[in-house]
Amino acid sequence: MSGEGPRAPGTVQSGGPAGTTTAERVLAPFDVQRVRRDFPILRRLVRGRPLTYLDNAATTQKPQAVLDALTGYYTGYNANIHRGVHLLSELATAAHDAAREKARAFLNAPSTREIVFTRNSTEGINLVAHAFGRLRLREGDEVVISAMEHHSNIVPWQLVCAERGARLRVAPIDDAGELILEELEALIGPRTRIVAVTHMSNALGTINPIEAIVELAHAGGVPVLVDGSQAAYHMPVDVQALGADFYVATGHKLYGPTGIGILYGRASLLEDMPPFLGGGDMIRSVTFEGSTWNDLPHKFEAGTPDIGGAIALGAALDYISGIGLAAIARHEADLLAYATDRVAALPGVRIVGTARRKASILSFVMEGAHPHDIGTIVDQEGVAIRTGHHCAQPVMERFGVPATARASFAMYNTREDVDALVAALQRVQAVLG
């Protein structure tokens, strides 16, 4: 480090002959305290203790920028969109369109025509199940899902299969909570019309090899729906690189408000699919003899949307992108590793979900302590985790447990949060003896 002059913090210089030094950026440390200051709710107390919020798989907290965007819309330019010729309507329409473009960019979808705003992931999956089902599913056809799915990626398919006389096939998972790819491949056959699989399991934290799954399915001419509810806020998602035909995400996990979700759908498929919900805005013309449909994506957006929600979601996506999902992923990976080590070291604790590729989620059971009791006792210490079947009863069944306790990490969590969790779990063991 001979006198080359001042360097920006976080850079190093690689060696080399004098005059040819290169500055290389090292990964800047993640400033979690800076991030936490953006989330006002983190300052509140719970039962007299600081809030240790570890239920991010259920929903995330919201940064001030998102809250400001929502109130900003309602105080500044609230109006219905698309057809108003007055100023407020123009502003609202422009902001709503801008939010759609942010969603497109966030998922790297080719076009905003392929971005449908929904209420949440569940609605997105229902939309595809019913509309694609009407298009392609006939009696004797098959739908393939995995054994680690959330109920929202099981039940819509059950409903549609029952309606169309089709069959639901389930690709099994192993004891680590990983999808058995050979078994999935074996299930894809001449009657398979769609494969629906999660990008990341909410109960186990497992990250699935989507590119490989898509390759298998596409080899058989079968489209793939990917449930990205958990994945979308823990890792960068590129729907083109993944090759997904449909990808669902939900706003309230993306540090945005509840009531808004994103469905990406390949244009060629969305064009062919009949509408899901009918009503205003999804039509071009209406007569009592018949109606014609609007262009994509409006064909799938009936009625007044959650305009404020979409705008706030746009602000959330901007916020996430400003920090960077790669940086967030690294920070969360450190927390998950630290938490896994500390929690697994507690006597009588078994981690449920030990896939080689995981993110954010730590599910566990504790001998002599039912998850429900664990949850109540740690809540008294200000620690928020989730206990129960996590809308994944088949997963609980697979691992032979009635329920698990689940801690899940987001960008604002710290090692201190993990320490608070562990102290609270030690309290559980003291109380229940």
Binding site: H370, P371, H372, Q380, G388
Partner: protein, 146 residues
């Protein structure tokens, strides 16, 4: 209210060493109970003889509150008449759903569960066994807290 009042000695004891835990072969009444929100399961078996609960037992997997409540229940209802048990069901429900600051009837040992009122999500854990017992008496196969 402190956690100590919910997880009292008596409750912890009944959770660790549940009374009347097991099946009754040749039960005259039985029912399954399930709390879908948290996965608590209980099965209640009765031997009713001339309108009296001659024997009662339960099996199940669930949280400490649900197990302790089932255990305390079986201890209490053994030997009671069916009418007494139905009355006790109503009084127990009233106790666990009363607002936290309201005075409640003293139900003897069952009163240890009065504290559950301050943890609304857990009330269903305490009442599952009783709902299941009632279903058994009514000759219904199953009960749920929903």
């Amino acid at each position: 209210m402190s956690l100590n009042e919910l997880y009292q000695e008596v409750i912890l004891d009944h959770n660790k060493r549940p009374r009347n835990f097991g099946r009754i072969e040749g039960a005259t009444h039985e029912a399954q109970g399930y709390n879908p929100l948290c996965g608590d399961r209980v099965a209640v078996f009765l031997h009713v003889d001339a309108d009296r609960i001659a024997d009662v037992a339960f099996e199940g997997s669930g949280c400490a509150i649900s197990k302790a409540s089932a255990s305390l229940m079986t201890d209490r209802v053994k030997g009671c008449t069916v009418d007494e048990v139905r009355d006790l069901f109503t009084r127990f429900q009233r106790m666990v759903t009363a607002p936290p600051d309201e005075a409640v009837e003293d139900l003897g040992k069952l009163s240890v569960l009065a504290g559950v009122r301050e943890f609304p999500v857990r009330v269903k854990c305490a009442s599952l066994a009783w709902h299941t017992l009632k279903a058994a008496l009514d000759k219904r196969p199953s009960a749920s807290t929903e």
